[in-house]
Symmetry: C2
Subunit: 140 residues, 2 copies
């Protein structure tokens, strides 16, 4: 990837609402040139989307946790992600090397909601879970 593209991606990662004009000034290209590059970056799948970051405490899901997930039956086909895709509140799903097969990041409103979510995860995906509560998030 080219150096101008790198800088554009870098800047858009920091401020996803930066205007093409400002991007142009920052990388030394015209507005349209930048616009073209951004469009190509989106088409090539380098930029996959834009999103607002939100304070999870202020939108009603103040409780974050990481859930390590291990299938109960090691011989069963591993379709854990498919089985969990519908479960609301699972923010991210990572397939990992190590003690467990998957690591999930979940966000919920209350300890009770977490309890229910864990029950859902266990029955839905036929797995055992090990949960680590997040106390605070110095950065993300």
């Amino acid at each position: 990837m080219e150096s101008a593209d790198r800088r554009i991606v870098e800047l858009l990662r920091q401020d996803g609402r930066m205007s093409y004009t400002d991007l142009g000034r920052a990388v030394g290209l015209s507005t349209s040139a930048v616009h073209q590059r951004v469009r190509r970056l989106e088409e090539r799948g380098v930029i996959t989307g834009y999103s607002a970051s939100v304070d999870v405490a202020l939108i009603g899901t103040p409780l974050t946790a990481f859930v390590s997930v291990t299938p109960l039956d090691h011989r069963a086909p591993d379709d854990v992600p498919e089985r969990l895709r519908g479960v609301d509140g699972i923010d991210a799903c990572y397939s990992v090397a190590g003690d467990s097969n998957y690591l999930l990041r979940v966000r919920v409103a209350t300890p009770q909601a977490l309890e229910e979510m864990l029950a859902t995860i266990r029955t839905q995906a036929e797995v055992s879970t090990r949960t680590t509560i997040v106390l605070s998030t110095p950065w993300e």
Copy 2:
């Protein structure tokens, strides 16, 4: 929080570059009314920023890992986040309840880069580490 604000936040989470005009149409308010609300959401800290999502494989950091961090000296003041803030490649830092004190998500280019980063983390923060490699990311 009000229902209109909720919808605005929801929409901006899905598309951080959505225009105020389109937001207005979606929630049934004028452009300026939406603009005002977004500004207030930003001021109140509900919306903390905007960012482009990027395919990490395509920008040269294809290797993601989670690093559990435990201070070597339990009596020393806990300033791990401050000590690690400058380290490049640490994407997120969570203070957690459990075996370790912190959980980091890191992104690097190669296993060698990971090795170097772990050395940096250990010396910089005076901690021991336990690393879990991410094999794939079904979603995030």
